[in-house]
Symmetry: C4
Subunit: 370 residues, 4 copies
């Protein structure tokens, strides 16, 4: 139950496309916060590449095919959904709007969209569950203490989350140069973690690397994925995979799905764009294994391209935060509606009546001669 | 008979090339209108690609071949024309000049150019016919009500149009971000359509997509092309094809010709440049099937490249509107003259005496090493 | 004998490289004249490509090879030259300096450089011959009247020119957009042509193309090259060839050499860079046929790359005019000296003791990953 | 013994990455000196290419691999080092900081980093030896007089240097256009050379090239490498090799290692980026021959990419001078620490526990579609 009423801002004039929320956010957000949100790790090469890779993929229209009666339904975890867009786990949403995850979860429910609550959310997973619709998943970061990780999973199960997304690509994270220059200070306390004891300081032998031997000691490995899969009955998705070998390895270990992602350029700077990597991942896992994609989606055309490249569905992170910043719950719901319309327009003009048709569409390079 | 005299503006100083009309139009047009004209759908990726693709194609000169006695004649619909340039169907020309289609049609007649009147013209097709020369075609958009479509075709036949261009690539259209930001409001009433009843509101089942099931319900399909071909005795050209499979399909259905076009980037944003797509289309329809191209032509060198890529002729849309805005009928006629001269100069320097020689010319990539 | 003393300007401070003359010329020249000099035909795509193509070619250094005792000698028309740089035919040099061709010819003589006098020179070929050194060639444009062409050739032979360069790539020429916008008006009377009668106006049949049937009527063809080769005993070089087929054709017709050139981007805009075209031309004419290159050379490294690509020697046009504008005869001589030093430095660092070694050097693409 | 105390500046606020030292140096350094430091030979094409080539290489993350317990140790000259980063020989360090090589050598010692003293150092090699740690190598330029070269080698051996790096890529050097325009005047007297007689002026035969026959007379050749290898018992590394043939030749001549380098773009302008060249060099010398790389490293990710490309270790030049300029010895030490952290983060996120794993990592192109 959300005790404070959701603030339903007006949708501002001048929002005609999902990308307009990014443009407006740049105008209305605190510059340091915007720098933090927009910036990728380090110099941000991968964050920029995510956008460029989508821009440089083209679709050959096929306007005379019958699409009337088409739809955008997809099935994930055995559940049919009306559209293939999810709200990616985005932490600390109180930075973007006073309603924080209350707003984005409400927007998800209003638009038949799965909401994925972050371990790093401003609200505890229980508080999110109280306001979110039934289609909610929980995103997990492995904690240094295995008991703590287990406890968080139990809490998510108890709170009625129906899917578990484990993010594996950021055991360490280099800050964004852009955010540092803007002077942004990220929040330190996390609602989901505040009742657990602090992990003990790590002892290093002389000469041992603080990073490789210290910070990475508790980093998740394939073995931890096995452990987690046995710990929970929830469908388990692994987020942050770009290498075909790793994807194949995870298939053999029985996970429910994989999210091809470079964490929006916030993990390894220099990683390729997700949409550049997905074809090889799709080829390595076979046609039917569940794959999602995030990183760089700013329009419904990008959703189309992600699916044509091999994804079954997509997650949107930054757009969610931009829309939330600009217009609260209403903004997020509107952004999802615009994404859907843009994707459907792309389907309509390229002769795709269903997402299966989209998957069968060949993308072509744009700007190759430049 | 046009009752108000055609305003024959002076050709402004500083117009030395067809592209100069684009440059001058940017200076003299209302900024919002210019934004509308120049912008492509959505972010305008394809509109930009159209220009870049032409710029990145090169021609190897062959100066010592004899071209004297050459010409630029071509045959379309069994009719010989002195040059391969047509005026593309451009709607709402009253936006650009008080004389509207009167001016462009007069310019076409004065330059032995085929004028293609748009369904969306500011003047009714009958009014255009009264002022246009005999070489006039009509461009058709399928209407939601088949009877209305049939009636428009009958009117075009009665009014003496000698060709029918059916545009198939914009059953729906996403507006240009640029035009939206500039605050442009497009005209709503169309002279050709004002006497027909408004189409009834469309009923959707719960959960049906407004786009895929609503707007696209009346979108033309291959079957509609068959119907149209039977309805009319006019040569039927299909405009808005980029995919080789669709082109081949249309050949089997007996259309008279195909116009390879992405609607100047105003249809599916993300579509490849027409000139990048034409070689594959040409290969799929064989050497002799009539093909035209539009989208992105700003110079006679571009006309040359379109033909070298596989087109028999080209249509110019934006350049027409630019010249019309800058200098009315005289501007359009002058623009066509400049295009012809530029194309002939390109032929002269590359050893092409005829358009057949142009078709045999290999294009090379420019800027590939960059 | 030049009756007015050559003005030997000081070499201005800040000239450390041949390219510095281009930079300084932009500062000191009349802007309209500079626009004319720098601009290529039409939008200038090829002029820009000439520079980009050189910039995007790389050389792998080989510093430990012995180059001591090396030299830059080459043999052209059976005559040994100390270096492979010539002054390209540049017309109307009075535009650039009061001394006009007197200055550039003197600079050529002072630096053991062949001077090629233009048909369009400010001074008559006889006046140039009076001030130039013995190493002078004459550049010929075919004239509409064959008798006039013959007469010019006779005059050049009589005046002691030892080579004939016939330029074939500009029977017509589209002006530079940039020069037009800058308002440049080119000179109309040419010293070499002033005593000939004006060619009669050309009659065109109705509907005939002014360009293809009019202007191109007198354009040189392969047959005219045959005629010219029989008319003169001078070594005959054809300038303005980029297509391998045309090069091979000229070899069979017995010309002395070919100059691979796009006229510095002043002929067919859209032509590839000379340095991009030369490898295919070299392959088509065999290893030993004399080839030169011009278009885009701004440094000794460019000279190196042209030779590595397949040229025996190069011509410099714009750099000549820049240096002439900035510092008269002394500037041109200094520019040649800098080009030589830069070329020799490139040879030294890449292990080339002779131009034959340069010809054997493989170029690599730079910026390919960008 | 350094008689004046090392100035241990504070690390300035705003340094979060090694690249920040470059950014800050641009703000705090004398503009002419910065132009000199940043500029490459001539127009600086290669200097720019060095940065672009690293930026356009990507790494596919592999986050679920176990890296805990990993390290960055490597073995060079039979000696184990904790990390693969060395301080490149940078001359005239008094330009950058009053402490000159005292500061950088101290920083090297404090961070277990090999310091390579330059022939062109501000301090004599004996003075550097007095303040540097035991892990110090000496960089040699061949001198015109073989006796002088021998004497310098003897002095380096006597002063306890444990490795010899002979730089071969700059027997001549074209100055940077950027530095010339900024008016930078390089120092002329060198501490290591001031007690030797000036080399006699070189006699040239008439017509001999000043560069090829004069300056290059004393340039080192493969034969000189043989001579040097016999002269000294120190491990001998050759710096400035990019061509696979030259690398193979040096392997057969028994040198200890090769440094793939284009001298930071300060030798042959137009040379490819070191990181673009290293794969072919590695292939030509086999998997186990010692290779290092310099030129263009601005981050730990770049170090990772250099090693993935085939290097065993890297040298940093400009970053050293930037950090020295900004914050003296402390800055240099801090810069090395940041480079190590950035490299280890890259290893952690790409599943590399050791440098051998890095060497086995495939790099992918970024921005290829642009």
């Amino acid at each position: 139950m959300n005790e404070q009423p959701l603030s339903l801002h007006e949708i501002p004039a001048g929002v005609h496309s999902a990308a307009d929320y990014a443009r407006l956010a740049a105008e209305v957000m605190d510059p340091a916060l915007f720098a933090y949100l927009e910036g990728g790790s380090g110099p941000g090469r991968t964050a920029a590449e995510n956008l460029a890779a989508f821009a440089n993929l083209g679709v050959v229209p096929q306007p005379l095919r019958r699409v009337s009666g088409g739809h955008t339904r997809c099935v994930l975890n055995g559940q049919q959904r009306p559209h293939p867009i999810m709200l990616a786990p985005v932490g600390s949403q109180a930075l973007f709007h006073a309603d924080a995850e209350r707003a984005s979860a409400a927007a998800a429910q209003a638009t038949d969209t799965c909401f994925i609550a972050s371990t790093m959310a401003s609200l505890s997973l229980e508080d999110v569950a109280a306001v979110a619709g039934p289609d909610r998943w929980f995103q997990l970061y492995f904690q240094p203490d295995r008991q703590v990780t287990r406890d968080i999973v139990r809490r998510a199960e108890t709170a009625g989350y129906t899917g578990l997304v484990v993010t594996v690509d950021t055991p360490i994270q280099l800050p964004s140069h852009r955010a540092l220059e803007a002077g942004f200070v990220p929040p330190s306390e996390m609602a989901n973690l505040r009742d657990y004891p602090k992990p003990p300081a790590q002892d290093l032998e002389p000469g041992e690397s603080e990073i490789l031997c210290g910070m990475m000691r508790g980093a998740p490995t394939f073995g931890d994925i096995d452990w987690l899969a046995q710990e929970t009955g929830l469908p388990l998705w692994v987020k942050g995979i770009l290498h075909p070998e790793d994807a194949r390895e995870l298939v053999t270990r029985g996970v429910s799905g994989i999210i091809v992602s470079n964490h929006g350029g916030r993990a390894l700077d220099g990683a390729p764009a997700s949409v550049s990597a997905i074809s090889a991942v799709r080829a390595s896992v076979g046609d039917r294994f569940p794959l999602m994609l995030d990183s760089g989606i700013r329009s419904g055309a990008d959703v189309f391209k992600a699916i044509a490249g091999g994804a079954d569905a997509v997650l949107v992170g930054r757009l969610q935060a931009y829309a939330l910043s600009v217009a609260g719950a209403l903004g997020v719901a509107h952004m999802i509606k615009l994404l859907r319309q843009e994707m459907e327009a792309c389907m309509a003009l390229s002769g795709c009546a269903t997402l299966a048709d989209v998957r069968d569409t060949d993308l072509v390079p744009l700007g190759a001669g430049r």
